[in-house]
Amino acid sequence: MSSHTFVLNGERVTVEVADDVRLLWVLRDLLGVTGPKYGCGLNVCKACTSHINGKAFNPCSVPVSAIKADDEITTIEGLPATVGQDLHPMQEAWLETDVAQCGFCQPGQIMTAVALVRKVKAEGRAITDADLDSIRNICRCGTYSRIRTAIKSGAAKM
């Protein structure tokens, strides 16, 4: 048991837990932050996608000890606050397109989409079909085409 401190959705948190427990379980089981979902625990399905210092990552595959005290972890719950709105433009785009079916993968899909659009913008270009093809997040309901539409629409407003 040791003490781990980091910034979660804008607030500093400290948890007592063994070093090697993956961040996903610290978030879900100890801190009650359930937006990031378990779909595999293998960094494959991407249902837990969140941001670390603005970059997309998968907390199922990161021990809590690898998170530094000043690292800013953003989950879906904290995404709107990063733009000072009730909803992030990507979340708005998700609503306009009515993307979700069961909704289990969608928090991860949105977090991936935001990071992808930021990355593409930083490269000074527009999002392409090849960029969309590179998204690894599983949607077992098969909402892929609406996700593609929503990302293009959300990107225009980011």
């Binding site: 595959s61 069961c102 085409s145 609406r146």
Partner: protein, 758 residues
């Protein structure tokens, strides 16, 4: 149908309650469809949905629409919501007949209610079909009662009042909100009432595209799934599982050492493994991996794809038509095992006490779960409370309550509440599967006519022990199919029919009793049966020197199918010029009283097939997908389109990429990079759904698109490569991944996640 509804009055009951409450008989009267022209097959006369409706007949007056003091209406729907959009569709029905804004309607999922008998089963794409009339009747009576109450208070006639957005108005300027009348409109005794439903032409909500009612919660990460529910002291729990399907525990050799691990609180041996309860799921994984277990045998030890296929071949039923004076076309197809696992792995919370138990899980047949779990725990049914929670997908998996029963067993043995989660690997390797099957077809033809069509489907048995079987037993005598058929054979006959005028047509099922964990996967038999059929139709067309569309146009016999077919041919530009290696395929399907035509374009050129994607399979790409659907009436066109898009991606997966490989009594697949469900790099960049309703009541929708989508992909692929595939998915022969170890049953999570941050 609209005229019909105007004439008819529907019956409901005002309940004695503090605020207005209206109950209805939970049953949609049997439809009286137009006769089918020639030699109708069982599915056309009476299908699985009709069976479910028939089974619900005796259940009366048991579901109710409640008007609340704040002017909102609530309804607890006795169904599961697993992404199919039933809660949104039901909210629309209530909003329509009550003249209430959609956001003032609250829909929850009902707990298991044994008194509903078999009418609490979500499956067979039957929900909207069975709910459409009763829910609207209850809401319409509620509106009628609110109007009557206001009219009485104001001393005017009911007919002088109008309702809009939850407000009643009179020409004099008098207005009253539903909120102000919710108590006054309540009845002090149970009283029958009848009502006319709105004509389709007057609909304001039904038939208009609406977003999911839970969409906002979903995008904010607030929708609560089973794993997100907090029950006091229900700590994370997982199971170390055997290396073969349904294996058993001989002994656990290091219990004390594992109990001493960080976070671990309890260990218990259960039917098919060893359960570990801990403070976090991560510590459950550590604990279960550290267990030293000696395993006993499972139910299919030593089996492999090849051994199962050999058994199937031995069980294939013979063809009957010799084809002496005709040309004969024979074909045989093999379909691999497939997984119906959702993205959310199976999970359940159980709190079992000495004399009671409480269960939370996504269950499509909660009544059967409640009965079985009560028997297993040695408790009366009434002492077991079963809550139906929101599911992160189902695809047939949640027809069974395996995980809820296991959670109950563990909670009873540990004498503590548990939150049981199956790992991803558990879900693929020990969870339910769509069984391997073969489909043989013989067609005889002469002088431009098809004389006979015989299809012999042979499958590892599909389990239907979740309630559909009970339904069939109770109502067998009323079904228009003869003989002493098994549950599976009956369901096969109730769901399958050939859409073509092919003379003498027989489609039969034979099953082999091999003890895999099987169950329905979205659309059950149809994707395989229809894919085999449509590939043979293309072959037949070629033999007769006709193009696939010209041939189908000549032989299709149903008017609704012909209509969607012609629309697809035209919108999809059948026959347009495409490069060599790229081709179109077309397929039709009718089920659940809906009609679909799917037109796909597949690019099978080497540069596409071999495009690189790390840890994934690429293969041929469906570049364009068009689906034209006649749903009768589309309750929510936006939701219907979503179901069609999902079905298309399922069909693409089962045709091209996703299957389970069985080796030594266990599937090799353990992650989503092994089980290749459609990914972004496989999905069609051009996806179009056209909704072409022909009128009447809504058809089923949840499974409707899967079969024609799979068949159209297969047909397009066959035309692109110039050779008909006979094994599905087409990549099954090549193992495209390194299997995860079979022991320990759940792999350790990686630690290098930050390396791939972007």
């Amino acid at each position: 149908m609209a005229e019909d509804l105007r004439r008819r009055r529907f019956l409901g009951y005002l309940l004695a309650a503090p605020t207005l409450a209206v109950a209805v008989q939970w049953f949609d009267p049997p439809r009286a469809d137009a006769a089918v022209p020639t030699l109708p097959q069982p599915e056309e006369l009476f299908d699985l949905g009709d069976l479910q409706n028939l089974a619900a007949t005796p259940t009366a007056n048991l579901v109710s629409v409640q008007m609340n003091r704040d002017g909102s209406a609530s309804f607890a729907v006795p169904r599961a919501e697993v992404g199919q959009g039933i809660t949104t569709a039901v909210a629309m029905m209530v909003a329509e007949e009550l003249d209430l804004p959609l956001d003032k309607v609250s829909i929850t999922l009902a707990d298991a209610r044994p008194e509903l008998l078999m009418n609490q089963l979500t499956g067979g794409s039957n929900s909207v079909r069975s709910i459409y009339t009763p829910v609207r009747t209850a809401a319409a009576i509620a509106r009628q009662q609110l109007v009557a109450t206001a009219a009485k208070q104001w001393g005017v006639k009911d007919s002088e009042l109008t309702t809009r957005n939850g407000v009643i108005s009179h020409a004099s300027g008098l207005t009253a909100t539903y909120a102000s009348l919710a108590v006054a409109a309540a009845s002090s005794k149970v009283e029958a009432a009848t009502v006319q439903l709105k004509a389709t032409a007057d609909f304001q909500v039904l038939g208009t595209p609406q977003n999911r009612i839970d969409a906002r919660d979903i995008v904010m990460g607030r929708k609560t799934f089973g794993m997100d529910i907090q029950v006091p002291n229900a700590k994370p729990t997982m199971v170390r599982r055997p290396p073969t399907i349904n294996g058993t525990v001989r002994s656990v050799n290091n219990t004390a050492a594992v109990l001493a691990m960080p976070g671990v609180t309890d260990i218990a041996v259960v039917s098919h493994g060893v359960a570990v309860r801990a403070d976090t799921f991560g510590q459950c994984i550590d604990g279960l991996r550290a267990l030293d277990v000696t395993w006993g045998p499972g139910t299919v030890d030593g089996t492999s794809d090849a051994s199962v296929l050999a058994q199937l071949k031995k069980a294939e039923l013979p063809m009957l038509v010799p084809g002496l004076l005709t040309e004969v076309l024979d074909a045989e197809f093999t379909f691999a095992f497939a997984s119906n696992s959702a993205l959310e792995t199976d999970n359940a919370i159980a709190d079992v006490r000495k004399d009671s138990a409480e269960i939370w899980s996504s269950l499509k047949v909660p009544i059967v779960a409640q009965e079985d779990i009560a028997a297993q725990l040695g408790l009366p049914v009434g002492a077991v409370k079963v809550h139906v929670v929101q599911g992160g997908g189902s695809f047939g998996r949640h027809l069974f309550h395996d995980v809820a029963a296991e959670a109950a067993e563990i909670s009873q043995k540990m004498a503590k509440p548990v939150k049981l989660m199956w790992s991803r690997t558990d879900n693929f390797r020990q969870g339910r599967t769509h069984p391997m099957c073969t489909s043989r077809i013989r067609v005889t033809y002469a002088l431009g006519n098809v004389v006979s069509y015989e299809q012999r489907h042979t499958s590892v048995q599909t389990e239907f022990s979740h309630g559909l079987g009970e339904m069939l037993t109770s109502f067998a005598a009323k079904l228009p199919i003869a003989g002493n058929l098994s549950f599976a054979e009956s369901i096969f006959l109730l769901t399958q029919s050939s859409p073509y005028n092919f003379g003498v047509t027989t489609q039969l099922l034979n099953e082999i009793p091999v003890k895999f964990n099987t169950g329905s996967m979205r659309n059950i038999y149809s994707p395989n049966v229809v894919t085999a059929q449509e590939l043979v139709v293309d072959q037949l067309a070629a033999k007769m020197g006709k193009d696939p569309v010209t041939f189908r146009r000549a032989f299709l016999r149903d008017a609704r199918l012909k209509a969607v077919f012609e629309k697809a041919v035209s919108i999809g530009q059948w026959g347009r010029a495409l490069p060599a290696g790229v081709a179109q395929g077309i397929a039709v399907h009718s089920e659940y009283q809906g009609a679909v035509c799917c037109l796909m374009e597949v690019d099978a050129r080497p540069e596409t097939v071999n495009r690189p994607v790390a840890d994934g399979v690429t293969g041929p790409r469906v570049t364009k997908a068009l689906l034209v659907v006649d749903p009768g009436f589309a309750v929510n066109p936006r939701g219907l389109e979503a179901q069609m898009i999902g079905g298309i991606n399922d069909g693409i997966a089962t045709a091209l990429t996703s299957s389970l490989h069985i080796k030594d009594g266990l599937p090799l697949e353990g992650s989503w990079d092994n089980y290749f469900y459609t990914r972004q790099w496989n999905t069609p960049p051009d996806m179009q759904v056209v909704i072409a309703p022909s009128g009447g009541n809504p058809s089923g929708a949840g499974e409707l698109a899967v079969a024609p989508a799979m068949a159209a992909v297969a047909c397009a692929y066959a035309r692109a490569v110039g050779k008909m595939p006979t094994t599905f998915p087409i990549n099954h022969g090549t193992l495209s991944f390194d299997p995860l170890p079979t022991e320990p049953s759940t792999p350790q999570s990686p630690t290098d996640g930050l390396d791939s941050a972007f």
